[in-house]
């Protein structure tokens, strides 16, 4: 089973690479590494005199990682939503589905492919940040990696939801998932308060339907700034909840996909 899922995952990643999506990842990482310095209207290396060095660096870490995770997540969500549809459109699905592979294994392999892409973006961001730290002789905030991990799991849950919606909705998946992606992206922690207020109703819906309450920005933001008490058990549970939320969507879509006809001539 593992080798079959891994084969699909590998092919899914290769497909993203061949679709030039990997270039997007590279551009994203470069852009995001440079962007915060310009946003501050100062060159990171030469405008240090006006700032306390620590703040500049902390700002850089927070801004660049938020931007990277947001853009990377949006890209991954869009890729996830169209992942199955892309295979149906190219009519390559039948040669895979008729192999001794369960349909849920196939879906899991495709999903892992997109998650691996997202993980690569996040990983590249982390490497960039640590390289800057090394270059400037700074230390990265203590709980930074833990915060990244939490953000990653939130992302995985969103990607899984988008992927599942793509499987369930078929032809209108891209549009629907785009809406969902924008909806959730707006609820990410770093949006201004006035937008928060304008989407108060939506916020509540999400609040009551997601076990992890991912609209709360308390953890992600405060971990970067080192203001919060770290509770391993509580934060692990939050990550687990995110995974379970994604898993429910995945199971539902896998169940429906198993019963679905794969029509070759219409596709």
């Amino acid at each position: 089973m593992r080798s079959r899922i891994l084969a699909i995952t590998g092919n899914s990643l290769l497909e993203l690479h061949k679709r030039k999506v990997s270039y997007l990842a590279v551009v994203l990482v470069i852009l995001v590494s440079i962007a915060p310095t310009y946003l501050k209207h100062k060159l990171f290396m030469f405008g240090i005199a006006d700032y306390k060095l620590g703040y500049v660096y902390q700002d850089f870490v927070i801004s660049s990682f938020k931007l990277l995770s947001l853009l990377g997540l949006l890209a991954s969500i869009l890729l996830a939503s169209g992942s199955l549809e892309y295979e149906v459109m190219r009519r390559t699905l039948s040669s895979v589905i008729t192999r001794p592979i369960q349909r849920w294994e196939y879906l899991l392999g495709r999903l892992f492919g997109v998650i691996a892409f997202y993980a690569l973006i996040i990983l590249s961001g982390i490497v960039c940040i640590y390289l800057f730290a090394l270059l400037l002789n700074f230390s990265v905030p203590d709980l930074f990696l833990w915060g990244v991990l939490e953000r990653f799991f939130q992302g995985v849950a969103l990607i899984t939801v988008a992927f599942s919606l793509g499987v369930l909705t078929s032809s209108i998946s891209a549009l629907l998932t785009l809406l969902v992606a924008v909806f959730f992206a707006l609820l990410l922690p770093h949006i201004p308060a006035d937008i928060h207020l304008s989407i108060g109703v939506a916020k509540n819906i999400v609040h009551y339907t997601t076990p992890s309450d991912w609209i709360s920005d308390y953890f992600t933001r405060s971990v970067y700034q080192g203001e919060v008490e770290f509770n391993f058990l509580k934060n692990s549970l939050v990550m687990l909840e995110n995974l379970m939320y994604g898993a429910v969507f995945f199971l539902l879509s896998a169940l429906i996909f198993t019963k679905r006809d794969i029509k070759l001539k219409d596709s």
């Binding site: 079959r4 084969a7 092919n11 061949k18 039948s94 001794p100 369960q102 070759l264």
Partner: protein
């Protein structure tokens, strides 16, 4: 007694179309078929007769509305049954960015094959399909006929006991068509069961043992080719086919 390789009992397939899926199109109705292990069986019929739908139900692409299908007594959706089946669709599509070697390795891994056996089988399958000259050319540059050959190769890669081909000669040149026929004879000699849908009746006469003529979702005639030709002496398989299809159509 020879084992049943494929057994279809009372197969019905209804496609639902339109708003709230209220419009029903019956593609296959009460289809029964029993194919013994080692037989080469042809499914023929006019366009839209239900051949492809039947084959797709057999390989699990479509879910039957009612009826049952077994492959060597197993549910065709089970991985065990699928391991025994090699399938090629009417027009084979694969990943344009892969070369046939990588493509077949991918399909082989999905079928549970592992190196070094996988590598050996890929080479053998591609040689049998006549693709040994373009092993490392990406499939995006392949012609329709070459893709069909890749399709043939992937269907026999994992040494299945049952081979299901949907119009395997589509897009093939005369040499390719001959290759398909030779391959069927070879597979038959190895004791494999072959079920194919095709419109080329002369080919069927050459390589198949049995024929089922299907129209409007039901089987009109199912018999061994030898006994059919003996019964209608002086007539070709094409004459018998046309008479059957037209006769039943007139009757209906």
């Amino acid at each position: 007694m020879t084992e049943l390789a494929i057994e279809i009992k009372g197969l019905h397939k209804i496609y639902r179309r339109g708003f709230l899926a209220k419009k029903e199109i019956c593609a296959v109705r009460n289809l029964n078929l029993e194919i013994k292990s080692g037989e080469a069986w042809a499914l023929v019929g006019p366009n839209g007769a239900g051949k492809t739908t039947t084959l797709h139900c057999l390989v699990g692409l479509l879910n039957p509305t009612s009826g049952s299908i077994t492959i060597f007594g197993e549910n065709p959706l089970s991985p065990d049954a699928r391991r025994k089946v090699g399938f090629q669709s009417e027009i084979f599509f694969s990943y344009s960015y892969m070369n046939p070697v990588d493509g077949l390795k991918f399909y082989g891994r999905l079928s549970g094959l592992k190196d070094p056996d996988l590598k050996e089988r890929v080479t053998k399958a591609l040689n049998l399909a006549g693709l040994s000259d373009c092993l490392f050319q990406t499939m995006g540059t392949f012609s329709k006929g070459m893709m069909q050959r890749v399709g043939l190769a992937q269907s026999i890669l994992h040494d299945p006991s049952v081979i299901i081909w949907d119009e395997p000669s589509t897009g093939l040149d005369p040499e390719g068509r001959r290759l398909v026929m030779d391959l069927i004879l070879k597979l038959k000699s190895e004791g494999k069961t072959v079920l194919l849908s095709t419109h080329i009746l002369s080919d069927i006469e050459r390589v198949c043992d049995h024929i089922s003529i299907i129209n409007k979702g039901g089987i009109l005639l199912s018999e061994s080719i030898d006994s059919l030709l003996t019964k209608h002496s002086g007539k070709t398989l094409e004459d018998i086919y046309l008479e059957t299809v037209r006769g039943k159509a007139d009757a209906q």
